[in-house]
């Protein structure tokens, strides 16, 4: 029997998002800041304790292992992971916002909130800068993007770059949050009202305030994108490529950036799924958001293999000493057979590409709420494994060999110590803690964006199916 396509289109997945009255949006979303107070307080305390443990472990490591850079691979992997996921997440909303997509409005706040993970990135980068070898070691200058630059150029400029990224991310988050701080000022009591009054800075919603807000979001969004790609270029060049002799790869910085977009999307999908369930926001976070995000996630998953393969084929086909050393170090993890990092690479490939690709290829998975979260979780694990593979192997090269022509001896795989595990767990907790804290101060879904969503879109019946009429006036 041939199915009537118009009948199929009226199933639940295609029903338009219902319009919610403005005052109801404000009430529902303001309520999320007090929802689950005790549980969130308990989780915050646990995250806080683990964060302190992580910082203490970092200090202990800095005191005891400062002179041995080969022991710092896991910290570098952690910083790269935080930069990849936390740095990429705000970007998820920027491009659709600039393109005036309506579906993105419920996710703009949660993606911008990830810029707060930059605090963890900044803290964790400091000891890494202390142990990063200078450009000149034993009177010999290593190959780097800094040519004849001063000895500590990567240390200074990389940190300024990361700082710039975080300032821009926080400015983007705060700028877009001002109208909601005004809602908190108007509709809450106690300390939330006081915080709202201070941070809304006299916002009344006048025409000129809205105009400048739109421009600010556009400007900071553009700046964020430009700085994000640049910081990935700096970090991947100086903290990975620059310390492995003979590793010359024009694609690697782009590979690092593209996984950031993939990781950012995965983090946003995971957090969106969580807040939808936990804060009961089914009215505001609809299947449309998951559907759109999972399509982007699928695209970036395919880009991962494209960028990896484009880099790999050059080394594989080149077969020079430096090329072989690159494959032995970063792919096989050993000169003979498959080493421990070779297995990490295989699992990273499965988690980042093979499993999510196979999962997201199905329309019914992408068009669901619970489907994309599985792919997102796999990708987040895969990115962590991939960062371990890259940065732990890169940092395992002893300082005295970093200005060789290429790597003659593949160093022993460095396994994580107790301190490394504490730092990794603590670092991720430092990243998560501000997100949890800010969810008590301001709604995780933007009130004014949701109100605008309703203002500009209208569910309509179109012939025998349903649709959403979206106005795009400016």
């Amino acid at each position: 029997m041939i199915k009537n396509p118009t009948v199929e289109m009226t199933d639940e997945k295609h029903l338009p998002q219902a319009n919610v009255p403005f005052d109801q949006i404000a009430k529902d979303l303001v309520r999320t800041t007090t929802h689950g107070g005790k549980t969130i307080r308990r989780v915050s305390i646990i995250l806080g304790v683990l964060s302190i443990v992580g910082i203490v472990a970092l200090i202990v490591k800095l005191i005891t292992q400062r002179d041995d850079s080969t022991q710092w691979g896991y910290v570098a992997a952690l910083v790269s992971f935080l930069l990849t996921v936390g740095g990429g997440a705000p970007m998820v909303a920027i491009a659709p916002v600039l393109a005036k997509a309506n579906w993105v409005r419920p996710i703009t706040r949660i993606s911008a909130i990830f810029s707060l993970t930059g605090i963890a990135t900044l803290i964790m980068t400091i000891p890494l800068l202390v142990v990063l070898p200078p450009l000149v070691v034993d009177g010999t200058r290593r190959r780097s993007i800094w040519f004849e630059g001063p000895n500590f150029s990567p240390h200074v400029w990389d940190y300024i770059g990361i700082l710039g990224l975080i300032i821009t991310g926080l400015a983007l988050f705060y700028t877009a949050a001002i109208p909601d701080f005004a809602v908190m000022r108007d509709h809450t009591t106690g300390w939330r009202k006081r915080v709202g009054r201070i941070l809304s800075r006299g916002w009344i919603g006048s025409n000129s305030q809205w105009r400048t807000l739109r421009m600010r979001i556009g400007m900071f969004g553009t700046f964020y994108f430009l700085i994000l790609i640049f910081v990935h270029f700096l970090f991947s060049s100086d903290f990975a490529m620059g310390i492995v002799p003979g590793w010359r790869d024009a694609i690697f910085p782009m590979y690092h950036s593209i996984t950031s977009l993939q990781g950012g999307l995965a983090a946003v999908i995971a957090s969106l799924w969580f807040i939808r369930r936990y804060f009961k926001l089914e009215k505001y976070i609809h299947i449309d958001q998951f559907w759109s995000l999972s399509r982007l996630l699928f695209a970036t998953t395919l880009l991962w293999i494209y960028f990896f393969y484009s880099a790999f084929i050059v080394f594989w086909y080149g077969r020079g000493g430096a090329d072989k050393a690159w494959i032995d170090l970063l792919v096989r993890g050993s000169k003979e057979g498959i080493g421990p990092m070779g297995w990490v690479f295989i699992f990273a490939g499965i988690f980042i590409f093979i499993a999510p690709w196979w999962w997201l290829i199905w329309n019914s998975v992408r068009r669901s709420i619970n489907g994309p979260i599985i792919a997102a979780s796999l990708i987040l694990i895969g990115i962590m494994l991939d960062r371990v593979r890259i940065f732990v192997t890169a940092w395992s090269v002893p300082t005295e060999h970093i200005h060789d022509k290429y790597l003659m001896i593949i160093p022993q795989t460095s396994l994580p110590s107790g301190l490394d595990i504490m730092i990794i767990i603590g670092g991720i907790c430092i990243g998560l803690l501000p997100i949890l804290v800010i969810s008590r101060v301001i709604p995780v879904v933007s009130i004014w964006e949701m109100q605008q969503f309703n203002l500009l879109s209208k569910p309509v019946k179109y012939m025998k199916t349903h649709g959403v009429l979206v106005a795009k006036p400016d």
Binding site: P21, F22, D23, A26, I145, W146, F147, E148, G149, P150, W157, I160, G161, G164, I167, T168, A171, T175, I178, P179, A182, V183, D186, H187, R201, G202, W203, I204, G205, S206, N207, S208, Q209, W210, R211, T212, L213, R214, M215, R216, M219, F220, F223, L226, I227, F230, L234, I447, W448, Q451, Q452, L455, L456, A471, P473, D474
Partner: protein, 169 residues
């Protein structure tokens, strides 16, 4: 005589737009009346006066300053310590590009932050007459008068247009 503000509250957007039109037709000064909303309506939806702004100048000037400083820094150090590397000229643009890009971006961002402080008129220390129902979806039309002479006219316009409440500062 201090300035006085009147705020008319509307449940719907159309009557608020009518009030804006009426103020314009009645000869009230452009810029003295404005619309307050809890969410951004499309520009010009209320027929409101669109003021000039200079926000785009700030990132542009910031970027130019950063770029210029970066050229001075990179060119200055290379001229001060001339080291020929790999047969490349002393002033090699590719070696300078990273610092030039970074300083341009950072100074552009910082100038934008400064620009926002000026152009957004935030903090707004004297927000005037306001009602918290605006953040619940009500539309406010606010007019600021230099004296009492046209207060009655303004109030009439707001009421005739459909304001369900008029507030005074």
């Amino acid at each position: 005589m201090p300035k006085q503000s009147l705020l008319g509250l509307f449940e719907k957007a159309d009557p608020a737009a009518d009030a804006m039109d009426s103020f314009n037709e009645a000869g009230f000064k452009l810029g003295s009346f404005d619309v307050l909303t809890g969410t951004p309506y499309p520009e010009g939806a209320f027929g409101e006066h669109v003021p000039q702004h200079r926000l785009f100048r700030f990132p542009a000037f910031g970027a130019i300053i950063g770029f210029t400083l970066a050229i001075f820094l990179t060119a200055g150090t290379q001229i001060a310590y001339p080291l020929v590397t790999g047969g490349k000229p002393i002033l090699s643009i590719f070696a300078m590009l990273i610092i030039m890009y970074e300083m341009t971006m950072l100074s552009g961002v910082l100038a934008t932050v400064v620009g926002i402080i000026f152009e957004s008129r935030l903090p707004n220390l004297d927000p005037g007459v306001y009602d918290k129902r605006i953040t619940e979806g009500m539309i406010g039309v606010v007019i600021t008068l230099d004296d009492d002479s046209r207060k009655k006219d303004a109030e009439d316009i707001l009421k005739k247009s459909g304001a369900f409440e008029v507030k005074y500062s």
